[in-house]
């Protein structure tokens, strides 16, 4: 490229050094792509011109597997999608099949499900907070978050024997009764947890560097969020008060009081605040729920062999990361004809390019962190 300058009337030819765009491959092996996400970045210096997500490194064909398993057999597989929020996945699937069967879990089962799912939401958000802070360079919060998450996992372990991929629920209700100190354990956790959230907030919320790194970064307007189908805390941080727990109550959510936090600017900082508040609200729900767990059976009469009548059902729940939907088609046999999952991570990830354009590489890391994706769910 040449540029004409004038020097005393006579033009001089000068050559402007060419600055090429560079392509940077982030991932699939990278410390902050949360698993095996691969992002192809087009960079101008450090500024991101465009991003291209390349996914599928963790594809296991979960939906196809469903077609060759009975309804009960497929239930443990859904835990392996969003493996940091397995309980929520299980809840969504069990309720979908119950809808297909026309059955309903008994009240006791529904309350226990609600408690465990809310604990799982806290655990999932804790993991998000730890890794998000780590991405932005704060080394310490991750250990505090894991310390509290550990308490939740211990409750899961005591309840069903597994910590991560719990398979906590069964179609029609629960497999296990709650153990003896279940209420005390949950109560103790909730009592401790309130102070712990404040502790994380003292480390981060007012921190100048944290605010500088997150405020105004990765802005997603309400209109864009709706157009892209973004759900969950990301949508709420963009200003829309939409939460399936309130909009289409499932499990026992209609019995409890809780607020839906929303943000104003739709930036990374707002998403951080929204998720922090959601943890407090989940704690509130847990505290209300353990006050009064109804007695009674924990399993509806659904029979040993499940043969739903032919038909189709779409059911969605508010998973920690957004709307987790299952679309199940039955052909009247013991195996589903088709199960399609609407994973929140996969759809929220579509907003990455919108948020990352014009940002710096360091911002991109913050934006991937704030999207809160789990690749097991994105790739399925």
């Amino acid at each position: 490229m040449t540029d004409a300058l004038t020097n005393g009337g006579s033009p001089i030819e000068t050559t402007v050094l060419g600055a090429d765009e560079i392509i940077l491959n982030m991932g699939p092996q990278h410390p902050s792509t949360h698993g095996v996400l691969r992002v192809k970045l087009k960079l101008d210096g450090e500024r991101v011109l465009s991003t291209e997500c390349i996914i599928g490194y963790l594809h296991r064909g979960v939906e196809k597997i469903a077609e060759h398993r009975s309804y009960q057999q497929f239930a443990p597989y859904v835990d392996r999608m969003d493996y940091v929020a397995a309980v929520s996945n299980g809840l969504g699937y069990c309720e979908t099949v119950e809808k297909l069967l026309g059955a309903e879990a008994p009240p006791r089962a529904r309350v226990v499900r609600t408690i465990l799912t809310e604990l799982q939401r806290i655990a999932s958000h804790l993991l998000w907070l730890g890794t998000h802070a780590l991405d932005i360079g704060a080394l310490t919060p991750v250990f505090y978050c894991f310390r509290e998450r550990e308490e939740i996992l211990k409750i899961f372990e005591k309840y069903c024997g597994a910590r991560l991929t719990t398979h906590a629920f069964r179609i029609g209700g629960l497999q296990y009764e709650t153990y003896d100190e279940f209420e005390t354990d949950v109560k103790r956790f909730c009592d401790d947890f309130s102070g712990k959230v404040d502790e994380y907030e003292t480390l981060l919320t007012e921190n100048r560097i944290w605010v500088g790194r997150t405020k105004g970064v990765g802005i997603l307007s309400t209109a864009d969020a709706i157009a892209l189908g973004v759900t969950g805390p990301m949508l709420r941080a963009s200003g829309l008060k939409w939460d399936l727990r309130k909009a289409q109550p499932y499990a026992a959510y209609d019995q409890y009081e809780f607020d839906i936090p929303t943000g104003k600017n739709g930036d990374t900082y707002d998403r951080y605040l929204v998720r922090m508040e959601e943890m407090r609200q989940s704690r509130r729900i847990c505290l209300q729920a353990i006050e009064n767990i109804p007695s009674g059976p924990i399993m509806a009469k659904v029979g040993k062999v499940l043969k739903p009548p032919p038909g189709e059902v779409y059911h969605s729940i508010e998973a920690p990361k957004g709307e987790l939907g299952y679309y199940a088609v039955s052909d009247g046999t013991t195996q589903p004809y088709r199960v399609r999952v609407r994973p929140p991570s996969f759809i929220n990830l579509q907003a990455l390019d919108k948020m990352a354009r014009g940002a710096l590489v360091a911002d991109l890391v913050a934006i991937i962190g704030t999207t809160d994706i789990v690749l097991g769910e994105v790739d399925r």
């Binding site: 560079i22 940077l24 990278h30 410390p31 902050s32 101008d44 450090e46 500024r47 991101v48 011109l49 465009s50 802070a133 780590l134 991405d135 932005i136 360079g137 704060a138 080394l139 310490t140 250990f143 505090y144 310390r147 480390l203 981060l204 921190n207 560097i209 944290w210 500088g212 790194r213 354009r357 014009g358 710096l360 590489v361 360091a362 911002d363 991109l364 890391v365």
Partner: protein, 443 residues
Amino acid sequence: MSHLIPPAIAPFVVPVICGIVLVAVFPLLAGYIVLLERKLMADMQARLGPMRVGPHGLLQPIADAFKLLIKEDIIPQGADKFMFYVAPLISVTMALVAFSAMPFGPVFQIADLNVGLLFIVAVGSLGIYGIVLGGWSSNSHYSLIGALRSAAQLVSYETAAGLALVSALLLAGSLSMKDIVQAQADQGVWFIFVVPIGFFIYFVSSIAETNRAPFDLPEAESELVAGYMTEYSGFRWALYFLAEYANMVIVAGIATTLFLGGWLRPFPGNHQHLIGTPFELLDALPSLLFLGVALYCLSLVPRQPVQVQKLFMAGVAGACVLLAAVMALTLFPPFDAAREGVHGAFWFMAKVGGYVYTFLWVRFTFPRYRFDQLMRLGWRFLIPLALVNVLVVSASIVVQQNWEWKHPVVSTVVTTAIMLAVAFWLAEEGAKPEPAPQPADGE
């Protein structure tokens, strides 16, 4: 003994011995700083840190060094081999050379240059060549971005650090490291109490200069994997690591010498005696400290699970007793000559340790700056502040000298108040919203 050494080489004997000791001991010391860092980090993060190799992980640095030595030395395809080989050497050599003018006490110094400070700062900044060349020669985008960030960062923050040093130099009136400490002894005050803002500026800039968090952008692991050393493995990688820790000790040494009174004992005017002995309490403090550590180690001995670990722990306690004995021995009159050297080295290392500890503490607490924020902090806050600081400090010196106005406390308070006002004003200005960055064009 001195008659055994030919006069021609006599002046070189002490420096050569010091040099050999430094080169031989420093890598080990750096290893233990890493262990200290990991232990401190663990302590702040509610965990234990290395516990496996040796009692309480005390042999971890040696195991790590051994592991790095036997690792495969991978050279990426398309790398500039020669530069790839040489780059870590440049970094580590420059870092070690900078030690040659560092006074670890009145005796242990390889060369007392009359431009000592300039020399250390100059050689220390040459180490950046190692980083830039290493990043460039790796033929990797991550390394390249890391190297460029490092270069830009060093250029910006050297300026602020240099200006901060000038404020202390004005007070000392010399560039020789020894004379700077002597000036603080003569004036009876460490310069941190005269120019606290200068020390603050140097502290922040030195974190940035050594690429430590929250300014560790050149190696930001969550963004650039490992920045300029992404492609390095094995011992070459260890050399970069060594250089980083050496640089940390160097900046801590500079700060100690200029602001914290170098090897001087705190409270030189305090002559309170240790009860029942003719020794001053503060002189006896190092011995007591080492004795305390020895006792703590002894108390840990029975808790070690294996016989070997018990013996090792007892050995550590023994070493501490030995150090305490050496420290105590020099308090007796026949060893007067050695006292200054040994105790000076102790106080110097203690201050360096305190400075490095603060470095580590900051690292575990704060998130990382973004590159543009880092640059803004440097150019819009620290450099103007450092410039004003130099002006204000020189003005106060001129006032004191020309008008014979002898109220050092008042002048310190006044200059610091002025500087704080400037700092707050600059911070306010900096907090004003930036014009939005040019949005990138669509595809």
